[in-house]
């Protein structure tokens, strides 16, 4: 990196590189779409990516951090840093509309409502990502990963993952 490149250009390039990293459990969704990538900081030409976990125990975080480092190095940034922050706590509200559309196309029902107490304790209605029917039922509150619940569609009889609202 030469000092002549303005920081905001570097930041944009670094953001674009880091954003190519996907969640290993949901390979269609980039970490920017998910809202996991929070910030890119440039200090003296050194780049630092700031990420936040979806759940405290999300086992994908180490993998994501490693892949960000690789993506940044491949984009020409030497010795990139990845920092994890817990605050503010990740919420499904940060997921982009594009991200939600990708999830649905992949067969995972995107978070249906805004997060909050109603999302947690009220009655839920989730549309089937396969056939669109809202005649669905919860199988289990916890699915194949911490961020998903397991549902089934009574119309097309397919089971599906639902990205929980938190």
């Amino acid at each position: 990196m030469t000092a002549t490149v303005p920081d905001h250009d570097l930041r944009e390039r670094a953001w674009a590189a880091a954003a190519t990293v996907c969640d290993p459990e949901i390979p269609v969704l980039g970490i920017a779409d998910l809202g996991i990538l929070r910030d890119i900081k440039i200090d003296n030409g050194t780049v630092e990516a700031v990420i936040t976990p979806t759940y405290s125990g999300c086992p994908a975080m180490n993998m994501i951090a490693l892949e960000i480092e690789v993506a940044l190095e491949n984009a020409g940034f030497a010795k990139p840093k990845v920092t994890t922050v817990l605050s503010p706590a990740w919420t499904t509200d940060w997921m982009t509309d594009e991200g939600k559309a990708k999830l649905k196309a992949y067969g995972i029902a995107p978070p249906a409502v805004k997060s909050g107490r109603r999302a947690l304790f009220g009655d839920q209605s989730v549309a089937c990502p396969h056939c669109g029917s809202s005649d669905t039922a919860l199988i289990s509150e916890f699915g194949s990963t911490a961020c998903k619940a397991l549902w089934r569609c009574k119309a097309c009889a397919e089971p599906f993952d639902y990205f929980k609202c938190i």
């Binding site: 976990p53 125990g57 999300c58 289990s140 699915g143 194949s144 929980k164 938190i166």
Partner: protein
């Protein structure tokens, strides 16, 4: 060891999360159905994740170079400060579910309140934990209702679980001198302020589950100052074996 109140408090939160997370992980591969196997695995992961953040912070507070692994793997039972409830054996499915309900009904409002802590790290950990514990509460409440209001067999087992675990619920609401100072400084939560909410949640769930609520008789206590039941030693022998036998071993 520089045992400041903040360090002691952070370890109490961390140890409680780790031990309950470990207990839930014991179900993996043994649950009655695959969905519940996943659910226990997920809930255990949430708790162990909370513990990791808290241990890392405890290591920073202590400032002696101990990291999350050193604190989890290299302290003996007498140094653990988890509440006794979470080290109780899993028993049958009903016992584990009722234990989860009793704890989550406390932990959910506890972490919600702790998000207002003047300690920024504890507040950040709490913000994540509060969301996670809300799911644990919903899941365990639904199962308790299903079991209590189910067959004669499931009702009897759920009632036995409530009766057996009840004497361990009082410890959650204790506030000793170590925590009192932190409560006054706006760092810790005074658990007594959550009593009414916990009572209401538990009474509602038990009533819907057609289970009777035991009287508050003698309450077991001591985990938070390192006096544990025999069960913790057995948990640690499994949890710590590898690091004790092969110090510093990594994957």
């Amino acid at each position: 060891m520089t045992d400041t109140p903040l360090l002691h408090y952070t370890l109490r939160l961390a140890d409680t999360a780790l031990i309950l997370g470990h207990r839930l992980s014991e179900w993996v591969g043994h649950s009655p159905v695959i969905e519940e196997d996943l659910a226990f695995g997920n809930m255990g992961l949430d708790l162990i994740g909370q513990a990791r953040s808290l241990y890392s912070y405890a290591g920073e507070i202590e400032g002696k170079g101990r990291d999350e692994d050193a604190l989890a793997y290299l302290r003996d039972a007498g140094d653990y400060r988890n509440i006794l409830l979470v080290e109780q054996p899993n028993g049958d499915f009903a016992t584990t579910m009722v234990r989860q309900l009793l704890y989550a009904a406390f932990a959910h409002p506890y972490f919600e309140t702790l998000t207002h802590s003047s300690d920024a790290t504890l507040a950040a950990v709490a913000a994540k934990a509060a969301k996670e514990m809300a799911y644990h509460l919903r899941h365990s409440a639904e199962w308790t209702i299903r079991l209590g209001d189910g067959t004669d067999e499931s009702h009897a087992r759920a009632q036995a679980a409530v009766d057996e675990l009840w004497p361990y619920t009082g410890e959650m609401f204790e506030c000793d001198e170590i925590e009192r100072a932190l409560v006054e400084a706006g760092v810790a939560v005074d658990p007594a302020t959550l009593r009414a909410r916990w009572d209401k949640t538990i009474s509602e769930v038990l009533s819907e589950a057609t289970l009777s609520r035991p009287d508050n008789g003698y309450m077991q206590s001591g985990g938070r100052v390192g006096r544990h039941s025999e069960h913790l030693g057995h948990i640690l022998s499994e949890l710590q074996f590898l690091q004790r036998a092969y110090p510093g071993a990594t994957w």
